[in-house]
Structures are given as structure tokens and as C-alpha cells.
């Protein structure tokens, strides 16, 4: 088979067509201002299939908020955000690392049914702006890959973020109606935004995340279908009607809800994790995905830091053998972005081993 450009290869991945070899990609949420990753960034840029993110939700009118920051400890600052709603103020606090490490949501906008009702009193955001940067990015990308239009967090995941996982979990039992109302509102926010983009011919590659808030063991299959499938499917349908494709990023124990991703209409799913981080083997994932969904993954990110390059090469070869036996539907990728500050050189050879193992599979 004639070698494909990265753009064509990824198109075929998303549209589930025959490939010359699996795609190979890494998410690019590198630690900020960390030069130890410079060599890896350059290597990925020249050897991997590329996806460049473009923020598809940047055109919504912002919610009326005020923000302040105070010192919390020597390691963290506390960032407070006040959201002004017609029914009263809602507050969210976030602990922001002063040393470039991950932060933590401390308190959430929605702590009760009353807070949820206040949130629902907000007017729907307007959508306006100039989308020409998408076409510029797409032109710059050329044959090296695709531009991925990020739709952000899915409706239910967004609601879980508003509430925090524990309050969200409790409200799904005690006040299920209000969770549905919040999800429906957010679905309409995303649909309005999406219509705006599609009318301006932005696409065809869209991505969403957030389903992972409502997967086992956090939530059972019933919640997955009632909150994720119900409110994601209209978004996926709209994308498909316009000839687009949807990528979903979701960690967790997804085996029992895998069919739910098919019901949503997801076209690419990342990652698919075996124990201990998840519960699905590559073989199980491939059997369920075959002909319907492209799998993106799954070399566990920890392997990039803890395994030898030779181990990563074997893991990649084994993954390809299992997941690419139909020459379709596979993008080899780590389960997450490189994330450990100062360790860019430690994982470089492992990334190289993963990519080389894929490049050797050229048909």
C-alpha cells in the first residue's frame, strides 16, 4: 500500500477506513516551561501523526464572574471565583500550585439543590466571533495531521465539575431531576456553539471529554446511559449530520459501558486501559470496537517513565498485533500527556521506541 500522509491516515482512522499502518500520536499537555521535554516535542513533531487542538468553545460569551487569589500555603495559592447569577452568587475555590504541580478544586459552585437552581437561572450564553484561526491552523498543519476542534467537557461531565464528584454523586440519587436539568442546559449550550461552528464550515474533527466522571467504578452503567449517552448523542448526531467525526477521551473502567460509547456515536475513543488503571484488555476493546470505532491508545503513560525502551517496544508490537489485525481503527498513543516535570529526557527513548514500533508496521 502506498504510504499515506499523516492527514490522510488520521482521516482514515476517524472514518474507519483501511490504513497503511496504525496512526501514532501523543497528547501534548506537557508540563509548562519545562525544557527537558524540548527534544521529545521536536521528535514528535517530525515523526508522529499530528493533531493540533483548536478551542471550539472560545466563542461563547463568558459567564459573569469575579476572580481573586490569596496565598494558602507555601505550596499553594487559593483562587476564588464568584459567579453572579440572577438568583444569587455561587463560589468556587481552587488550590493553584505555586511550584508548577497539578492543582485541586477545593469547593465547587454547586453544593446543593438551591445552588443548582441558581445556576439554572443564568441566561444562555451567546455565541459570536471570528473562526478564521481554524482555517489558518488547518492550512499550516497541511499533510502533517489534522486540527482537532475541542468541544471541552461533555454535558454530564461539566455538571460533575460544577458540583464536584461527591456532591454530584449524591445529587444523582437525591435530586436526579436537577442533574438532568443541568445536563440538558449544558447540552444546549454545546449544541448552540456547535451549530455556530458548523455553519462556518469548521471541522470535521471534533473532540469531547468528561464522560469519565460518570463511568464505573464512580457511577454504574445506568448513570452512564442516562447522563452520558442521553446528552452526548444529540451532539454526536449533529456532528455526523455535518459529515464530521467525534473523538472522546475517557479514563476509567469502561468495559461495561463500552457499548455506550457506540450508542453515543463516538468515532474515536481514547484511552482503553487494562487493570489496574482500567478493566479492559486490548483484545476485548478491539472485539467491541471492530468496524465501528477507532481505538486510540493504549500504552500506559507510567510505562513511558518506568519501563525500558525495549519493554515499550514489545508492548507496542503486542498492541498492534491485537488491535490492528483488520488494518483499521488504531492510533497508537500513550494513555495521557507526558506529565512529570523535569523528566522529559527520562521518557524520550521510550516514546521513540513506541513510534519506531509503529513505523515498522508500514504495509
Amino acid at each position: 500500500m502506498q504510504p499515506m500522509t499523516s492527514r490522510e491516515r488520521l482521516r482514515r482512522c476517524y472514518f474507519n477506513e483501511e490504513l497503511d499502518r496504525p496512526g501514532v500520536y501523543s497528547r501534548t499537555g506537557f508540563p509548562s516551561s519545562d525544557s527537558t521535554y524540548d527534544r521529545l516535542k521536536a521528535y514528535l513533531q517530525t515523526h508522529a501523526d499530528l493533531k493540533r487542538g483548536w478551542r471550539g468553545r472560545a466563542f461563547e460569551s463568558p459567564a459573569p464572574t469575579e476572580q481573586s487569589v490569596e496565598m494558602h500555603t507555601e505550596d499553594f495559592d487559593r483562587q476564588m471565583t464568584i459567579l453572579h447569577t440572577p438568583a444569587g452568587d455561587l463560589r468556587f475555590t481552587y488550590l493553584l500550585s505555586r511550584k508548577g504541580q497539578p492543582g485541586l478544586s477545593e469547593t465547587y459552585f454547586i453544593k446543593s439543590r438551591e445552588d443548582a437552581e441558581a445556576y439554572l437561572s443564568l441566561p444562555m450564553p451567546g455565541v459570536a466571533g471570528d473562526v478564521s484561526s481554524f482555517f489558518k491552523a488547518d492550512g499550516e498543519m497541511g499533510d502533517r495531521g489534522i486540527v482537532d476542534v475541542g468541544l471541552g467537557v461533555n454535558p454530564a461531565g461539566f455538571v460533575a465539575e460544577l458540583c464536584g464528584s461527591e456532591t454530584f454523586a449524591m445529587l444523582t440519587i437525591t435530586d436526579r431531576d436537577i442533574i438532568h436539568a443541568l445536563c440538558e442546559r449544558q447540552m444546549n449550550v454545546i449544541l448552540n456553539n456547535l451549530r455556530f461552528l458548523l455553519e462556518r464550515k469548521v471541522g470535521p474533527y471534533f473532540s469531547m471529554a468528561g464522560e469519565e466522571f460518570i463511568v464505573p467504578p464512580l457511577h454504574g452503567p445506568r448513570d452512564f446511559w442516562e447522563f452520558n449517552v442521553k446528552y452526548d448523542k444529540p451532539i454526536a448526531d449533529l456532528i455526523h449530520e455535518a459529515g464530521g467525526r467525534l473523538h472522546i477521551h475517557c479514563h476509567g473502567s469502561i468495559k461495561s459501558v463500552f457499548k455506550g460509547f457506540l450508542d453515543i456515536g463516538a468515532d474515536v475513543l481514547h484511552p482503553f486501559e487494562a487493570p489496574p488503571m482500567g478493566d479492559i484488555t486490548p483484545m476485548e476493546a478491539k472485539e467491541m470496537a471492530r468496524g465501528k470505532l477507532c481505538l486510540e491508545g493504549n500504552i500506559q503513560i507510567a510505562a513511558m517513565y518506568e519501563h525500558t525502551p525495549e519493554q515499550v517496544r514489545h508492548e507496542t508490537q503486542s498492541l498492534i498485533k491485537t488491535g490492528f489485525n483488520d488494518h483499521k481503527g488504531m492510533i497508537v498513543s500513550p494513555s495521557a500527556s507526558p506529565y512529570i516535570r523535569g523528566k522529559g529526557e527520562d521518557c524520550f527513548e521510550q516514546y521513540k521506541a513506541m513510534i519506531n514500533a509503529v513505523l515498522e508496521r508500514q504495509i
Binding site: 492543582g103 461527591e166 449524591m170 444523582t172 440519587i173 467504578p217 464512580l218 454504574g220 448513570d223 507510567a302
Partner: protein, 211 residues
Amino acid sequence: MQDLKQLYNAVLEGNAKAAKTVTEQALAEGTDPQTLVTKYMIPAMDEVGRRFEANEYFVPELLIAARAMKTALQILAPLLAAKGVEPIARVAIGTVKGDLHDIGKNLVSAMLEGGGFEIIDLGVDVTPEKFLAAVNEKKANIVALSALLTTTMPMMKNTIESLKSAGVRQQVKVMIGGAPVTQKYADEIGADGYSDNASSAVTLARKLVAK
């Protein structure tokens, strides 16, 4: 006479209001508070744990059952203390230094409390010194360490080393958990036990204090 099976059901179904009402009525009728805890509430939480492990219950059901248990316990705790009833053990629990994830830790806390343990919740980003202080000052019998990140797992080892250096390692049992943690890792760092979910953490804690 109050049907005490209603207390079991109230906890199992996460009905905090019913748990409170039944507990108050049972006490008014002279039922021994310890009986309410050991014969109805703890078995109900054990059943919650069983259902969680069997994928019949998930986090919402677990949290709401723990809330019902806690509601009843708030009524019973002063009465139990007055009678000199001790918890099974005191557990100092926290997410290790550098790690801010708390959902797993909170679930384990809720299940352990439901299982009859006293919880000393140290929160997230907990230094080895804070765990040590909980052992020395609050007489914790178990130290429970949580980590979600592979990068913070070594802090579990550091915490155990701190307990050793301070000469209190033999006084306490150390259990660890978190998504990337394994039994192999627990063995490597010298923890006494590892649990992969909130429910089995209760079984593990009971085994550890029985040793």
C-alpha cells in the same frame, strides 16, 4: 416496639431521615446503642461493601449509605463514649504529600467509619510528619495512605520510613491504596496491606487489627 431491621434497611438504602428516626425511637424504647451499631448498622455497611464489590452499587449508593450511617452515628456516638465503648481501631488516613486527589481517600474513610473504625482524616497533601503526629498524639492504630499519581507513590515509602525512623512502625499497621498502587508495590515498600477498593479496605483493616 421498633423493628430494628428498618435501621439496617435505612443504611443500606441510604435513607438518612429514616436512619435518624429509627435510631431515636429505638433509643427511646431502651435499645442498647451498641446493639444498634454492631447488629444493624455495621452489617448494613458490610452489605453495601459487598454490593459495591459486586458492581451492584457504585459511588453514589456508597456515599449515600455512608451519610445515613453517619447521621445515626452522630446520635449514638456520645452514648457509646459514655459507656466506654471503643472503636475497632483509629485510622489516620490521608493522601500523601504532593497529591491532592481525595475521592478515593474519602470513600475509604466513609466505608471504614461505617465499618466501626474511628477516622482521623488528615486530608490531602499530607506530609510524613503529619501522619507521625497522628500516631503519636491521636493514638492511631492504622495509617492509611492514598495516592493517585505514580509520581507521588514514593511518598508512601517515605512516610513508612518516617514511622520507622521515629520508632513507631511496630505500633501501627500501614495500609495503602490508589489507582496505580499494587500489592507488589505494597510489598516493596513494606506496607502491611493493600486494597484496591473502598469496600475491601474495611476487610483489610479488620484483618490488620486482628493480627
